[in-house]
């Protein structure tokens, strides 16, 4: 039996600012993970990642990260991805300050 595919989002770092961005359903990059496209199908996920990686002049280092559906949209699963939605814990810098 095939293993169960856990839902994912496509994420990357913005090319100019270097901060975390997520791919939306309508092919824009958002700085709010809740607006990202939640991918529930493995083949679709691979395709979306390829499409994201092709956009070399917008982002760097695209990858698929685990996510789960939340009340207002996708939420991070792993603490590393949660930090990427906020910023560092030693200063009020990054997304939490925006």
């Amino acid at each position: 039996m095939a293993r169960i595919f856990t839902p994912k989002v496509v994420t990357a770092n913005a090319l100019l600012e270097g901060d975390a961005v997520w791919l939306t359903e309508d092919n824009t990059w958002t700085r709010n993970i809740a607006e990202a496209e939640l991918i529930t199908d493995e083949a679709h996920g691979d395709l979306r990642l390829l499409e994201a990686q092709a956009r070399a002049d917008e982002i760097a280092g695209a990858y698929l990260a685990d996510a789960r559906p939340g009340s207002s949209g996708p939420e991070p699963v792993h603490f590393r991805e949660a930090f990427r939605t906020r910023g560092p814990s030693n200063y009020h810098h990054g997304k939490q300050a925006e």
Binding site: G18, V77, G87
Partner: protein
């Protein structure tokens, strides 16, 4: 201090122009990230969790006031008003925008600095004892040799694509403050039986996932042979080092797999072959460099004001007790400025603090500053009669914490607050430990204690050589912290031993507190340091303190 000559200046400017073009081509999409990445890394530009990071070399940790002022300006103009000093005597900016980086590099070039070879599989920034040229226990100032090595290694055509990164450290003192035994090449200036000065050459040290203490490759290398001998080592490694597996690519593994004897044979053979090619040109260069490192004109004046100020002000006295070290010149002291205020991020200085330190160096410190691998800033040459004024200015700038070498003088890598490779955070753990010891008011009673924290197995925070090392890991999606004990990064380098199962983020600080207060009961008297007690008693009593319930379970 060494000043760029026309060649250095031209080279660095050309590199900036080249990188400016590469950034433009990356931004317009003509370079992909895969193509651009090696180019940016060659220029010290990383991409981390929340932003780019620019790593700037402070060669052998030495800066003048103008350079420190420029670092402050860069922090204000293109970053968030601060910089992070690292264990490799670099400064890292955590928030640059890609398009601004060429301008930042241009601003660095204006003061004779750069970010070249602070990354990639090249010979990295050569580090040195941060007390170089000032320490009372020094045979010779190691920095001219470090500068010679910097010039030789920068853009060395044979060594731009080594199997892995390559780190060199030099010290001129018997007391090793540069962790030379944890470097790919460690150089210790020594005197032989005939009284000549040369180097003890140590290779194959390193931390990371396979920590190893360096081994002596050559007991005594005459000074004049430094470059050909180092070139022989690196070229042997370049051919022999493994490129099939990056975890086995460092020279420590090459030495381990091939044996020291074989490496010795190959290096000596290669050395004999290339030695004459150097034909004395390197020695002429060294003479030129040495002229740039003549000691400052130390003054002779009375120090009575200093003793009076110590008697009058207990806070000043406490600071002088912890933050000063012996200087080779009469009436002088080495000042360590703690960048470890309790609760603050280890190694972070604001632009305002950088300006204060630059100003103090100019007024009272013969215009010199150092960055230590312990993430503090040093004023290497301060006359004792000026110490009270220096202290007062540091206090104003929130830089007068009296904790050098104590429990809160913690090394911490950026960890998961910044670093893309991290498996857990390290900064908040350091902040909490320092805050806790400050509340308990026991760190002066505890005495010398080195706590070092890394946010992953790469060990950038030197946890293996901490008396207490803390390694942050990801255990099934939760941060977990493993403790090692008995590490030592000095001339008696030792890799710490794992104490047992890790602790959660909530439990790690209480565990450290238990460990340290437990040590107070174990030590033979108040002069026995944590490390000495550990060496005398071994792991068991400390383990019992760390895992009390397990102990009971075993007894039941």
């Amino acid at each position: 201090m060494y000043k760029y000559n026309d060649f250095d200046e031209g080279f660095v400017r050309a590199r900036v122009a080249q990188f400016r073009g590469q950034v433009e081509r990356r931004i317009d999409g003509s370079l992909t990230e895969d193509e651009f990445k090696p180019l940016r890394l060659m220029n010290g530009l990383y991409l981390q969790l929340h932003a780019y990071m620019l790593r700037v070399a402070v060669p052998y940790g030495t800066l003048n006031s103008a350079q420190m002022l420029q670092l402050a300006l860069i922090a204000d103009k293109w970053d968030k008003g601060y910089g992070h000093f690292t264990t490799r005597q670099n400064i890292q900016y955590n928030w640059p925008k890609l398009g601004d980086v060429p301008d930042m590099l241009e601003a660095l070039a204006d003061v004779g600095m750069h970010a070249i070879q602070t990354s990639g599989n090249t010979i990295r920034n050569v580090t040195a004892d941060h007390f170089a040229g000032a320490a009372s226990d020094e045979i010779e100032d190691p920095r001219p040799y470090a500068e010679l090595l910097r010039q030789w290694s920068t853009d060395h055509p044979e060594f731009q694509f080594l199997p892995r990164k390559f780190k060199i450290a030099v010290t001129g003192a018997a007391e090793d403050r540069a962790v030379v035994r944890a470097h790919d090449i460690g150089l210790q200036i020594v005197r032989n039986d005939a009284g000549e000065v040369g180097f003890q050459v140590i290779i194959g040290g390193g931390l990371g996932r396979t920590p190893m203490v360096g081994k002596v490759l050559r007991e005594f290398l005459p000074k004049a042979d430094l470059l050909p001998y180092c070139e022989a080592i690196v070229s042997v490694y370049n051919l022999l080092g493994r490129r099939d597996n990056k975890y086995k690519a460092r020279i420590k593994i090459t030495v381990h797999e091939n044996g020291l004897a074989k490496i010795q044979e190959l290096v000596e053979e290669r050395f004999v072959n290339i030695r004459e090619d150097f034909s004395g040109h390197d020695q002429a260069l060294l003479t030129e460099i040495e002229a740039a490192f003549v000691p400052p004109a130390f003054v002779k004046k009375p120090t009575d004001g200093y003793e009076a100020a110590r008697l009058a002000n207990p806070a000043f006295r406490s600071w002088t007790d912890t933050n000063l070290s012996g200087h080779k010149a009469d009436g002088y002291a080495i000042v360590s400025i703690s960048i470890k205020k309790h609760g603050a991020t280890p190694g972070d200085a604001t632009s305002e603090q950088m300006r204060v330190m630059a100003d103090l160096a100019q007024k009272y410190g013969h215009n010199e500053l150092r960055i230590s691998h312990e993430q503090n800033v040093i004023l290497p040459h301060v006359h004792k009669s000026d110490l009270a004024k220096v202290y007062a200015a540091l206090r104003e700038a929130d830089l007068a914490t009296a904790n050098i070498g104590l429990a809160s003088d913690i090394i911490a890598c950026p960890g998961m607050d910044y670093c893309a490779l991290a498996t857990a955070r390290s900064i908040p753990i350091a902040q909490e430990i320092a805050t806790r010891f400050d509340e308990l008011k026991i760190e002066h009673d505890i005495g010398q204690l080195k706590i070092k924290i890394s946010g992953c197995i790469n060990a950038c925070g030197h946890h293996h050589v901490g008396h207490i090392g803390i390694l942050g890991l990801d255990r099934a999606g939760v941060e977990n912290y493993q403790i090692t004990l008995g590490g030592d990064g000095t001339q008696t380098t030792t890799i710490g031993e794992r104490a047992g199962p890790g602790f959660s983020a909530d439990d790690i600080v209480p565990a450290i507190e238990r460990l340290v207060t437990g040590y107070l009961d174990l030590r033979s008297d108040e002069n026995e340091t944590f490390l000495q007690t550990y060496r005398r008693l071994g792991m068991e009593p400390f383990k019992a303190i760390l895992y009390p319930s397990e102990d009971k379970a075993n007894a039941a």
